[in-house]
Symmetry: C2
Subunit: 304 residues, 2 copies
């Protein structure tokens, strides 16, 4: 299983509904990896330690291999609460403030999340901070978006996370198309994304972001008065939500710096298309690779 | 039933889920009235004509009494499709373009809705235009809000409806508190509206209306980091949605003119509180009374 190379540490990304583990060499090179659905929700019933030990045994890892963990395993309702570091957060503090987990043979550390204790903009992240750590090696100010059910926008200054915000884009898309009258507007949508409708939605809401609620309702009017299709309606809802997210996430930021889209799979493409619609420069970076690099950076600092 | 005064016409407000009828004298004075749950949805199964005739018979109305109807009875899926007049819409056209309904003894007219066939902002109303007709007798430009599941904002210039928009405020409140993670934030909310949280929500979103999605998500952070209550969360969601609606509905309008809140019951009070939070002048006008005045104005023009 280990290709004859001795692993130096195991890296674990333990989310709410997913589990991912890598055995890594000294330079962070991957010797073996596994993923499963044994996320926090599953592990609370079955034991975090049991699940981790079973995977490590199956991968023929040494009994004393160090393990660094990020994600929801460190939540209050997870394995061992790993707390938060405060924003603005120098990201090397993640390794310094990692919480040890008692284990008979291994040194296991769970990285903390980040809390933004601003009374005007209270928010927390857990997992994304490790992706950001993996994205470093820049000295410049940058804006990073991590699209998803709850999209995260981060502002970085060198290796410090200065602020972040969460946009309920993915969840709102679901709620709007299942629990409001827009359900009827998208009924029967089957085709690929209607690119023209998506682009129109992105542009119109970026111009007038305050008007999101009426822009959404007009989708129904567009069908009633102009015969717009269900595919068009679905793409336009998506465009309006992502365009609104870009307008808010980029407020006050330099639009010369590329937006760094940190994602794996189809969402990166969709956010890239939204940036294109607005002539905004962007870079797509792989989220899984960033997580692994972040865990490696932390492991190197904890066990130099 | 008719107090000895001879009715001159019957006025009907026939909505999706409600039916309301008034017998009126020559000056629009109410001789008798009834309301029921026999809205369009019910009437499609039971016959619009049967329901109307039964109520008129119970009210001892003459067989040849004229009837003017507004609302969803004129929708395509209603009794007889009454079409739309186009925006900008001089509201006396509502009476001129009313659609007759065949009946053995009565002259029945259904008022049209209004369509805004702007390719950028397509929208339709059906029912609210009659409330606006009942609000006339002004020569000044004004902004009217009709709060609800789908709040309508209308811009009037004298007796002409120049434009309108729909905000999904009531429906979004329901969807957010039942189909997103904010469901957990409001769990156990039982108290009266938390006025401070409502006001804070209105003010913060009016300042930064583009940031609605992250302002909503911060409600969770506010509980996690600052122990905010479920009642506070519920009030803040309401404040954010209504404040965003005000920001968008009033965009470009003079803030010297009072906002006219056309509503019956608790929503008028809530929208008034939101205006107070922003130091915006407002007037509350009763929506039921406006509907009746609008139907009377139409009846007077149809049967002078």
């Amino acid at each position: 299983m280990t290709n004859g190379i001795a692993p130096r540490f195991a890296a674990v990304d333990w989310g709410t509904s997913s589990f991912r583990i890598w055995l890594c060499g000294a330079k962070g090179e991957v010797i073996a990896e596994r993923r499963s659905g044994e996320g926090m929700t599953h592990a609370r019933d079955n034991g975090f330690g049991n699940i981790l030990d079973a995977h490590l045994a199956d991968m023929a890892a040494p009994n004393d291999l160090n393990v660094v963990v990020c994600g929801m395993a460190g939540a209050r309702q997870g394995w061992v609460e790993a707390g938060y570091i405060d924003c603005p957060a120098p990201l090397h503090h993640l390794a310094d403030r990692a919480t040890p987990v008692a284990h008979p043979t291994r040194d296991i550390r769970i990285l903390p999340g980040v809390a933004q204790r601003d009374p005007q903009h209270p928010d927390v992240i857990r997992g994304e901070e490790t992706q950001l750590l993996g994205l470093l090696a820049h000295d410049v100010a940058s804006v990073v978006v991590m699209p998803g059910t709850h999209s995260k926008w981060a502002r970085m200054d060198g290796s410090t996370l200065t602020s972040f915000s969460t946009h309920m884009t993915g969840e709102l898309f679901q709620a709007l198309t299942s629990a409001t009258l827009l359900k009827h507007a998208v009924e029967g949508a089957t085709g690929p994304t209607d690119h023209a409708a998506f682009t129109a939605g992105v542009r119109e809401i970026f111009e007038t972001p305050a008007a999101w609620s009426s822009r959404l309702f007009e989708i129904r009017g567009r069908q009633l008065l102009f015969g717009a299709s269900a595919d068009g309606a679905k793409a336009r809802i998506s465009g309006i939500l992502i365009g609104a997210e870009l307008a808010s996430g980029l407020a006050g930021a330099s639009q010369q710096q590329p937006v760094r889209i940190l994602s794996t799979g189809g969402l990166a493409d969709l956010y890239g298309k939204a940036c294109d619609a607005l002539d905004l420069p962007f870079l797509i970076e792989d989220a899984d690779a960033a997580t692994l690099r972040g865990l490696h950076a932390a492991a190197t600092r904890i066990w130099p």
